[in-house]
């Protein structure tokens, strides 16, 4: 005697067969799906990595077009908008003098200085990369202000201004973004813009550091 009747057993067998078929299909397609998913994420990552700056430019443009919808609170982007148009200045670039190769190359004389600067550049790039990566993940005031500070230290004032604006968009009440902005503008030879920015900030907020900077300008 069977435990199940025959017709029920046939049904159970059909069910089992279907289950096995599904398992087999899953066995074939699951690795393909995983490989596909991995390939897709790799491709996406490749597309995402190039030049962070372009991204921020795009975002900046976006926020500028959406400015009508923004709150009335003033940020550095307002100040940026009001700045006079750039004038193209022609400057002469001297071609460096060509030096003759030394006749005798002394062995074991390694130039120490260039190697150090090379190392320095690498570490700087690394830290900038980390900062940009952090900002990409967090998109906060603190990450943006760090990048602004980095560029200010590097004396890349254009970018320092850009990131100070970015930071002030996140939190316009923080003094540091306005200070970096003013410092960068001052360094770019535009103390008037720096003054204007600081006075706008000090109208609504209080910061001794910003006040001192304004006084010094």
């Amino acid at each position: 005697m069977l435990n199940n009747n025959f017709s029920k057993l046939v049904k159970l067998y059909g069910k089992y067969k279907a289950r096995e078929r599904n398992k087999r299909i899953l066995k074939i397609f699951l690795p393909l799906f995983i490989v596909g998913a991995i390939a897709l994420t790799i491709l996406q990552n490749r597309n995402n990595t190039p030049v962070e700056d372009n991204r921020t430019n795009l975002k900046e443009n976006k926020t500028q077009t959406e400015k009508k919808e923004e709150p009335k609170e003033k940020t550095l982007s307002h100040v940026e908008k009001e700045k006079p148009q750039k004038q193209i200045q022609k400057t002469e670039v001297k071609t460096p003098e060509v030096q003759q190769m030394p006749k005798h190359i002394i062995k074991n004389s390694k130039p120490a200085a260039p190697q150090e600067s090379f190392k320095l550049k690498i570490t700087q790039r690394e830290s900038l990369y980390n900062l940009l990566l952090n900002h990409k993940n967090q998109k906060s005031y603190s990450t943006a202000i760090k990048i602004a500070q980095f560029y200010l230290n590097e004396k890349d004032y254009e970018k320092a201004v850009k990131w100070a604006v970015e930071a002030s968009k996140k939190d316009p009440s923080q003094a540091q973004s306005w200070i970096i902005y003013a410092q960068a503008k001052k360094a770019m030879g535009k103390p008037d813009v720096a003054k204007k920015a600081l006075s706008i900030f000090l109208k609504h907020n209080y910061s001794q550091q910003a006040q001192n900077l304004l006084d010094s300008l």
């Binding site: 005697m1 069977l2 435990n3 199940n4 025959f6 057993l9 046939v10 159970l12 067998y13 069910k15 089992y16 067969k17 289950r19």
Partner: protein
């Protein structure tokens, strides 16, 4: 009744001694047990094996077929009453004893007078079910060399019982019964069918079919018989009712047999 209905009876789960199969493990265990029984020097013998490996069949076979050993009594299940157990053993000496006629001590001393030097052997199957008191009684009887005991039990529980103080320090012998190999399973099915004039059915089994059965039986003698019996029952019904698709041994009928015996879970 078609031939499948007749053939399936060969694979019923009983101790039919005509179904004797000379697997390597079984033959080795049988030889060890007979030697130990003939030597009369080990008071306790443990036959250990997983369920369905043929422990009961081995005891039954020796009890009924082997003539040069002295089996006093074969208890297929552990007794439940100590006195009843002792009275049964004492009655083997030819005395009519009424229940509760003697105290336990008197029964033991009477047994001692009639049996000694481990001359007779008592088989107890499913000995993993013995209580502590029963185990203690067996220890007393074996220590006083009244009887030699063969305790057949499941391997897992047996190993646990052997660790107990009752047996740990005492002389005993362990005989382990292993399962069938894949080849032995195939050989068993074929030889069983051929020996009973079912050569047509035996010829229906291909290597792949035997492999399938061996895979699900996992060396278990009882499970092998169960699968084959169910398979033959399916073939019997299919042939009788005219289900052509299921009238031969194939993947479908084998899988159905495994489903029906609960080896494949579909629900």
């Amino acid at each position: 009744m078609n031939q499948f209905a007749e053939a399936k009876e060969l694979f019923s789960d009983d101790f039919d001694l005509s179904g004797y199969f000379d697997s390597l493990s079984f033959e080795y265990a049988k030889k060890q047990l007979i030697d130990a029984m003939q030597a009369h020097d080990v008071p306790l013998i443990f036959v250990l094996g997983n369920p369905g490996t043929g422990k009961s069949f081995l005891l039954n076979y020796i009890h009924k077929k082997v003539t040069n050993v002295k089996v006093a009594k074969y208890f297929t299940h552990p007794y439940f009453d100590e006195k009843e157990f002792l009275e049964t053993l004492l009655s083997l000496a030819g005395r009519n004893i009424e229940h509760n006629e003697y105290s336990t001590e008197t029964l033991i001393s009477n047994l001692k007078k009639n049996f000694n030097n481990l001359e007779y052997t008592v088989f107890i199957d499913e000995a993993q079910l013995l209580t502590e008191d029963q185990v203690e009684l067996i220890r007393i009887l074996s220590d006083q060399k009244i009887f030699q005991f063969v305790l057949a039990m499941h391997k897992k529980e047996g190993n646990y019982i052997l660790q107990k103080d009752h047996f740990k320090s005492r002389t005993n012998k362990r005989i382990e019964l292993d399962g069938l190999t894949d080849k032995e399973i195939g050989r068993y099915i074929e030889s069983r069918l051929l020996a009973n004039n079912f050569s047509t059915i035996a010829a229906m089994f291909r290597k792949s079919h035997l492999k399938f059965i061996a895979k699900y039986a996992n060396g278990n003698f009882r499970t092998t018989k169960k699968i084959v019996k169910t398979l033959l029952e399916i073939l019997n019904i299919a042939n009788r009712e005219g289900y052509k698709k299921y009238s031969k041994i194939n993947d479908a009928t084998l899988t159905m047999a495994a489903i029906d015996t609960g080896l494949i879970d579909v629900k």
